[in-house]
Symmetry: C2
Subunit: 463 residues, 2 copies
């Protein structure tokens, strides 16, 4: 079908003015009087809708007068400038056909609905302004991330989702199986006989693609992953989902400073790209969701990210322990309240905290010469807290093996990972960016359920 889109019209209005246009779209509102009416039409291609004027000269005027919000229409008409009206132009319809009617019980009406209510109609909420903005921006951010890494010659690696290892023991995992729960095969001593399962062994959904990513980084130098990740954690918060997307770049011949520089460049690139490619959506979010959003993001573009060691951060935080729910001392993990205090109150901009105690960080992080801390970094941003966590990786075979043994991890499962330290181990570093946190940060939306198209959380798996 040859239809003009609302985006084409808004972006090339001069070319379309006073010309006949065929347009398909959905009714956002319909105001009629006796002999004419106004439709607001959205076709999803552009955040701003288009006004359509129709008159009783239409053969189906009585039908269109009564058409419900949500209906799909195909409109033929002329685009005319309306210099005295709120909107710069409108379509004067000569013909309107009903592509798909909207039943009277259509749940979206012109009034504003609460995000809570809209979560009960996941399949319809993308038609509202809030979710038009949220999911367009989500898409634009995703592409910005690909562009950023591809422009820098990174190889995009699809690390697997079904895994037989537990990556870093980073969290509770979902089991993946084809065994019939009503008839689980058993070994003679009563254990589950995984030989009968699809992969012939116990398998789970991945919590991180990093370890596999490192293998590719030791071949392609610079790589990134961008894929789904899972946590079967029973945390019913506004920040946690069971299924979410993560970006994990890994760079070789690189240290912690290189990883931080990359992360800062990346975040600034994403912000710049989104401001440029979704200005209408960002304007809406700034107005109706998070006043100050644009100011904050522009401030980030013009700031150098702060850098502070964990030890220095703890010194600062301990002076404010009175105001924290969780008291801080050297060796404790930082909570969101502490992270936000540092980035919002102390630095007033994004901030890297580095060199955490080894005991609160993952086994693969590079041990610092002090033998107490590791070359880790968390990037904290206002409004969110941690958005990125990364590290330089332990590239010394003996130290890595010692750490694996010290933590009583299954050495055999990490044989391939140790191999990377045995055959041409180059120093390397990387980080993980939680994609939904990034979308929340750029949209100002506070609940992770509202930046995920079909959120999966404890007890919730709809559609």
């Amino acid at each position: 079908m040859k239809l003009t889109t609302v985006k084409q019209i808004w972006e090339n209005r001069e070319a379309y003015l006073d010309r006949e246009i065929d347009l398909g779209g959905w009714v956002r509102s319909n105001r009629d009087s006796k002999s004419f009416g106004f439709l607001t039409i959205s076709d999803g291609s552009f955040f701003e809708p288009l006004q359509v004027v129709y008159h009783d000269s239409l053969s189906n005027f009585q039908t269109i007068r009564k058409i419900n919000v949500g209906a799909a229409l195909i409109i033929r008409g002329t685009l005319v400038a309306t210099p005295d009206a709120k909107q710069p132009f409108e379509i004067q319809a000569s013909e309107i056909s009903v592509e798909g009617d909207s039943a009277p019980d259509y749940p979206l009406q012109k009034k504003r609905h609460s995000p809570e209510f809209l979560r009960t109609i996941l399949h319809l909420r993308p038609r509202t302004n809030l979710f038009q903005a949220a999911f367009r921006v989500r898409s634009v951010i995703a592409f910005a991330i690909h562009r950023f890494f591809q422009e820098r010659n990174f190889v995009y690696v699809h690390t697997p989702l079904i895994t037989s290892s537990d990556a870093e023991g980073a969290g509770e995992m979902f089991r993946v199986t084809t065994l019939d729960p009503n008839d689980i095969p058993r070994t003679p001593d009563g254990l589950v006989d995984y030989r009968a399962d699809f992969f012939g062994k116990e398998t789970n959904l991945t919590v991180s693609g990093q370890l596999d990513g490192e293998a590719f980084a030791q071949a392609f130098r610079d790589i990134y992953t961008f894929g789904p990740t899972f946590r079967a954690e029973n945390s019913n918060t506004t920040r946690h989902a069971a299924e979410f997307w993560m970006i994990e770049p890994e760079i070789s011949f690189a240290d912690l400073n290189d990883a931080m520089a990359l992360a800062e460049d990346m975040l600034k690139y994403i912000i710049r790209y989104v401001l440029e490619h979704a200005p209408e959506e960002m304007e809406f979010l700034n107005r109706f969701v998070d006043t100050g959003l644009l100011e904050r993001l522009n401030h980030v573009l013009n700031s150098e990210f702060g850098r502070i060691s964990y030890t220095e951060a703890v010194d600062i935080l301990m002076q404010h322990n009175d105001s924290f729910d969780y008291k801080v001392s050297w060796g404790t993990d930082l909570q969101t309240e502490h992270e936000r205090f540092l980035t919002e109150q102390v630095f007033k901009r994004p901030l890297f905290v580095t060199d955490y105690p080894k005991d609160i960080k993952a086994f693969y992080m590079k041990l610092n010469p002090d033998d107490k801390t590791v070359a880790a970094m968390d990037c904290l941003v206002p409004g969110i807290g941690e958005i990125i966590g990364g590290s330089q990786r332990e590239d010394d075979y003996d130290k890595l093996l010692a750490r694996i043994q010290e933590l009583h991890m299954d050495e055999e499962s990490y044989r391939f990972y140790l191999d990377l330290r045995k055959y041409g181990s180059s120093r390397h570093a990387g980080y993980g960016l939680g994609f939904e946190r990034c979308v929340m940060y750029l949209t100002g939306i506070q609940n992770i359920r509202d930046v995920l198209p079909f959120p999966r959380t404890v007890g919730n798996c709809e559609l």
Copy 2:
């Protein structure tokens, strides 16, 4: 670390000639004589390696002489032109430091290894020419796909992987659970009590994001998904994997012809993009993997894809039933042998077969006026067979409901999908592109295990 990459050198050789360069990379080969030697260095940034010459003036000459293939080195030296040699330039090293040694049992030697052997060392095979080409091209194709759709204003939608529906009954599914298989909770009548499972119900890994994608297409007009998909099918072939990636665009106010035009544009865009952005890799694949690859792809760029109805295709195929393992008659599904015959022997170019019998296609496809066939299309390409399958979707509420009932599907699970036909149903169409098939098609690689970074197949889930 400030290092120059091999890619920068190859692409800007003039700028680097006769200048001192610091380079990090891995040894591909090392030939030494008494007082000097040659290293071939790959840093993963570029398909072609770089030659490094070193002399006994190096303080660690004896170490470098004996350095094993696979070692990581950091080299300081001067780039000099070598007009009489095979390679256009080389580095004359003034300093070489060993970043990471390579143990004597390094499994990759200079000789060519079989893909079968390399599948046993998934973590090291990306360092070989074949997999440098395969996985760089895979990454470039992935980005080409994103670019194609984003340039056309499509919204990228992350449809969920964990699902409580079975989508289209398209295949065997993996169950996702946190129930302990040694202690499964039961209801009073002995069934599994899924209320105790993470989501409070039975959940699976998705076989397609299409139905959810349609909800977004009825809001954003044009959308695409690009994510992992799963099949728990016990098919141990060179074409099937349990975990693979799929691209599923969905377009509104669009019919089957629009979907075919989009698919053809997309495939040509991808081919053009890859030829332009990975010429060295494509040259290698053409030379060592699939002679005629480049000719075939260029031919596709210059062909209009064929179009033929299923009924016409069957008429042709029946004349050649003698040569097929599976005999064809109207109503049978086409096998790869038939698909390849049509695209390779009859049309000698990519080909859309349309309007299949409704009984061999999914419930959601739009019924044609003949009441026997549906507005489906498969895109067949030489060397592969089906690479894309799509359809116009049934947009009529009553017909869709009737079909769901006729097939005894669970009506309640499709309530949201029926809603899309109740509230502003616009005609719409879409298709699925199997990403790995696409990579196989563009690389000439015959086994799906060799285009997946860490393949998952029956009985195989390594690393």
